[in-house]
């Protein structure tokens, strides 16, 4: 798998993402700069990492969506290329229109950094095929704007097409408001594109890929991608 990590001014989890990719593939990913107008030849996976691109002073991800590199990322996705957007990367994917909906301010109005439990709702994708259907995984969140919003028709369509990848649940798998760390519609924490090759999610599986980080529940996502795109 040839993976690249995109760096915008203000991106800050590129090292976390690169380390997780390296753990899964044994190789360092390439780094692509926001002003680059094309991706390296042969790119299989584009990872849009967490952070505060352009300071997120306008609307999270809005400025990054207009950057030169995103034209190339969009073309890559339209060719069927794989794209993973985590946290700010998910916000960028929604602003770009590669995924539907938007990420609003957390219902608590506060930034929240803690481990959450996700239920794997969909294993039919190159990102989630390493998990069992309904498996509960523990991964960290760290965001102020992760409250997923879309209109009811869009939400119904996402559910109907099996494009809800992850939902916030309790440790024992209940989909209840207490488990919903940011107030997201229907406890949704990650969604897939129509062709299932673009995933956006708020939590950080990359920060749970090493036993010394306290948990390795995020690692199967990276190893699954590496196998699928080998």
């Amino acid at each position: 798998m040839k993976a690249v990590v995109v760096v915008f001014p203000g991106t800050n989890r590129e090292m976390d993402a690169a380390a997780a990719l390296q753990r899964a593939t044994g190789r360092k990913p390439g780094i692509v700069w926001h002003r680059d107008t094309e991706l390296p030849a042969g790119t299989d996976l584009v990872l849009l990492p967490g952070g505060f691109s352009y300071g997120d002073y306008l609307r999270c991800g809005a400025m990054a969506a207009l950057s030169p590199v995103m034209r190339a990322v969009k073309a890559h996705a339209e060719r069927g290329g794989a794209v993973l957007g985590i946290c700010n990367g998910f916000q960028v994917l929604c602003e770009t229109g590669l995924l539907p909906g938007a990420l609003l301010r957390n219902a608590s109005l506060k930034f929240v950094c803690k481990d959450v439990f996700l239920r794997v709702e969909e294993t039919q994708s190159l990102f989630t095929r390493g998990y069992r259907q309904g498996q509960i995984i523990r991964v960290p969140t760290a965001h102020g704007d992760g409250n997923y919003f879309a209109d009811e028709a869009t939400l119904d369509r996402l559910e109907g097409e099996g494009r809800v990848a992850f939902r916030y649940v309790t440790a024992d798998g209940r989909t209840v408001p207490e488990a919903n760390v940011n107030g997201a519609a229907r406890n949704i924490s990650g969604i897939l594109s129509g062709n299932r090759r673009v995933l956006g999610m708020m939590p950080h599986p990359e920060d749970h890929t090493d036993p010394l980080q306290g948990c390795t529940d995020g690692l199967p996502m990276f190893t699954a991608m590496a196998e699928a795109l080998a």
């Binding site: 203000g10 800050n12 989890r13 380390a19 952070g51 505060f52 002073y57 760290a142 920060d207 980080q213």
Partner: protein, 747 residues
């Protein structure tokens, strides 16, 4: 426009408003041989302010131990530097932003984080962790809740955006901070030991370069504000608080580190307090050279700024660099890549003077040597704090049972869970946080390998500590205890403590009793630093922390840093499961004076604080560290605020497992409440498997270290020797309840 003071004559009255005494005003005129211009008066007043000159504290700070074989740079630079092996250096410092945070909590705290980050990356380090030490007033005070909310949001808002994990800290509440909260921020960075950048300017003719954000009128005279007591009009000082831009700071970090990888930079310093003035004066002064600045070239955010305003502005996210000749184009390209302003604003000269030109006119021309050499230096009178009587273990009767007292303590403002705070800080970004907030006595962050091939196994342990109520009762013992507790917290993880940064927060030094507190704390700290081989490598002094004549508790906050060879061996405080033996290291004596039990349960703040036996401290700690290194220990927690039973409860809550406790041998004669809630120093609780327990007890005995069995882990309750039992779940709920409940109440 000529600025706020443009029409005023520059005379003694204006000098007094700028914080200069009559004697200091006389000295300014003598140095110049004439009356100063407005810009010159501004420069003298900030450079001679308490904040920049340390005029009241310098004589005492000089007595602190600052050397060890592993110290690369002690106090006097932007931050301290220590050698952590493998060609790597840790660079760190703690700094206060107390006054701005009181006036405008969000921006005050945010810019405090920004400032300390710059102090660290200006020396060539990538910041890898932030910590803080916060003190707020009485929770019942009408202002406290808003200050907590604003300060926590500000620290998070800045640190989360720059992408440096906030991994640790401490918080106290006490009425003495009602009008004067403390916000002390610490940054730890990592650099190659042979690539440290310093601030001394060199090379006559070399260009002086300004990078970062543009200069505006914000924060003018902030350093002077930080050097005065608060009065009822402090609200009106809001415009002198700066506004932070963490996004620009992130770009500045990346741009500076990118340029530092080349050989373009001769010297570099951030523009912190007193902005362009302190950076240019200090850089040229340290290098023994002169400096000429052309203010027309300074990137400006507002129109019509005067020389006075530009020299005194504390606009954030700015740095001053001296470049090698001919390096301008290379440097400019890096800063343009990161979309930051870059301007050559002057050059170094051989005149030994600072000359400021603006719009074709010389606005300031000051000899640098007297500006620093003749800066005021005061040996202010000190009054020793009277000794308090020692409270015997049985002197105060217990008004309630042990179980009830434990529940009340574990849910009290000073001992309850800090989750509501640390969950607003991104403590995981960078992916190397091995021990998160509340998981261990010190945070552990794993380090990248020097060859770039990944990370680990080495890591840094970091903590912030001080017990201000001890410092008030006995400054010398309190100063010792602050350093010893930082050392102990690092030791309890298995790491080796290396050095500290100190953030000295005190009241008005012109009052002998306050200066006596300062001197006493320094003496105690010095004794502990020496005994524990734990030198001071950087620090900051914040005086005049008084509002309407009432001083804060003396608060010498200590930031400690240690190293651990293999982070996989670091221990946390959570009980690892059932079937472990609990062992107390250190002698129980039932010291209730100044304890939280005395304050929270008996409603009394009195007695002498627990003394620190530094030889025992070192002996006990070295045994604990050795046992952890040998892999014999399952969990370890130091015994601090609240005493032994609070430590055990914290271990049980974190591990989600209970324990059946016994009275440790040697403590049979102590009153129950004195045994469980006494705060005697130099002690730890260990959880070990049965076989290692035998080894540990034998080793302690051989070394003459008091060690005794405390019970066994298991079940879902903490059961006291008398049979009283408290469920771990109810402890957890009480521990977690107070802060979120308090913060959700309406104003």
């Amino acid at each position: 426009m000529t600025g706020a003071h443009g029409k005023r004559p520059v005379d003694q009255a204006l000098a007094r408003e700028f914080g200069l005494t009559a004697e200091e005003w006389g000295k300014v005129q003598a140095i110049l041989g004439r009356a100063p211009s407005l810009t010159e008066l501004g420069i003298f007043s900030v450079m001679w302010s308490e904040h920049c000159s340390y005029k009241s504290s310098r004589v005492w700070l000089k007595t602190l131990p600052t050397k060890a074989p592993w110290v690369i740079q002690g106090p006097g630079e932007n931050a301290g530097v220590i050698d952590i092996g493998d060609g790597q250096a840790a660079i760190f410092k703690m700094e206060s932003h107390n006054h701005p945070s009181f006036i405008e909590p969000y921006q005050g705290a945010a810019t405090g984080v920004g400032g300390i980050l710059r102090d660290v990356f200006t020396m060539g380090a990538r910041p890898i962790a932030n910590l803080n030490a916060l003190r707020f007033g009485d929770p019942a005070h009408p202002r406290t809740r808003r200050l907590v909310a604003g300060v926590v949001a500000g620290i998070g808002g800045y640190g989360n955006c720059v992408g440096v994990p906030t991994v640790g800290g401490e918080v106290n509440f006490h009425p003495a901070y009602n009008g004067n909260p403390l916000v002390n921020a610490m940054t730890v960075g990592l650099a190659p030991a042979d690539r440290i950048f310093y601030s001394a300017a060199a090379g006559i003719g070399n260009p002086v370069v300004y990078v970062g954000s543009r200069t505006g009128r914000d924060g003018i005279h902030g350093a002077t504000m930080a050097s005065a007591e608060f009065g009822a009009d402090s609200e009106e000082k809001r415009p002198t608080v700066q506004v932070g831009d963490p996004f620009t700071e992130k770009l500045l970090i990346e741009a500076c580190l990118e340029l530092m990888a080349t050989d373009a930079i001769v010297a570099i310093q951030d523009m912190g307090a007193a902005g362009l003035t302190s950076s240019s004066v200090e850089m040229a002064g340290k290098g023994g050279v002169g400096i000429e600045l052309e203010l027309d070239a300074v990137p400006q955010r507002e129109t019509g700024m005067t020389a006075y305003e530009m020299m005194l502005s504390e606009s954030q996210e700015r740095m001053l660099m001296i470049l090698k000749p001919g390096a301008e184009a290379k440097a400019r390209a890096v800063f343009e890549k990161w979309e930051l302003d870059f301007a050559v604003i002057g050059h170094l000269t051989d005149t030994g003077r600072i000359v400021i030109r603006h719009q074709g006119k010389v606005e300031a021309d000051i000899p640098l040597a007297p500006l620093s050499d003749e800066a005021p230096l005061y040996r202010r009178p000190t009054a020793e704090t009277p000794k308090r009587p020692v409270l015997a273990p049985g002197a105060v009767a217990a008004p309630m049972g042990t179980a009830e007292a434990l529940m009340q303590l574990i849910g009290s403002p000073d001992l309850c869970s800090r989750r509501w705070i640390y969950e607003q800080y991104d403590h995981l970004v960078m992916g190397e946080t091995i021990k998160r907030p509340a998981a261990a006595d010190a945070a552990i962050v794993r380090l990248p390998r020097p060859d770039g091939s990944g990370s680990g196994p080495k890591g840094l342990a970091m903590t912030t500590d001080v017990t201000p109520r001890y410092c008030l009762a006995d400054p010398v013992e309190g100063g010792k205890q602050a350093v010893a507790e930082a050392w102990r917290n690092i030791t309890a993880t298995g790491a080796r403590p290396l050095a500290i940064t100190d953030n000295m927060n005190f009241g008005n030094p012109e009052k002998p009793e306050i200066m006596g507190q300062f001197a006493g704390c320094i003496q105690g700290m010095a004794a502990a630093c020496t005994a524990l081989d734990f030198p001071v490598v950087s620090g900051n002094v914040s005086l005049y922390n008084e509002t309407e004549g009432r001083a804060i508790l003396p608060t010498p906050a200590i930031g400690g840093v240690g190293v651990i060879a293999d982070v996989a061996k670091a221990r946390g405080l959570a009980l690892p499961g059932a079937g472990f033996e609990l062992v107390l290291i250190g002698a129980p004596v039932g010291w209730l004076g100044c304890s939280l039990w005395l304050r929270e349960i008996a409603g009394r703040e009195e007695g002498a604080p627990p003394p620190v036996d530094l030889a025992a401290e070192r002996r006990n700690g070295e045994l604990v560290r050795a046992l952890i290194a040998e892999g014999l220990v399952g969990a370890c927690h130091d015994i601090a605020d609240g005493g032994l039973l609070v430590a055990l409860a914290e271990m049980a809550i974190a591990g989600g497992v209970g324990a059946r406790l016994v009275v440790p041998a040697g403590a049979e004669a102590l009153p129950e409440h004195a045994l469980w809630f006494g705060e005697e120093q130099g002690r730890y609780v260990l959880a070990l498997a049965p076989a290692p327990t035998v080894t540990a007890l034998a080793r302690a005995k051989a070394l003459g270290i008091p060690a005794a069995r405390l019970g066994q882990t298991g079940g879902d309750a903490l059961t006291l020797p008398g049979g009283a039992s408290i469920s771990v779940e109810s402890l957890r709920r009480t521990h977690e309840a107070w802060l979120p409940a308090y913060m959700s109440q309406a104003e």
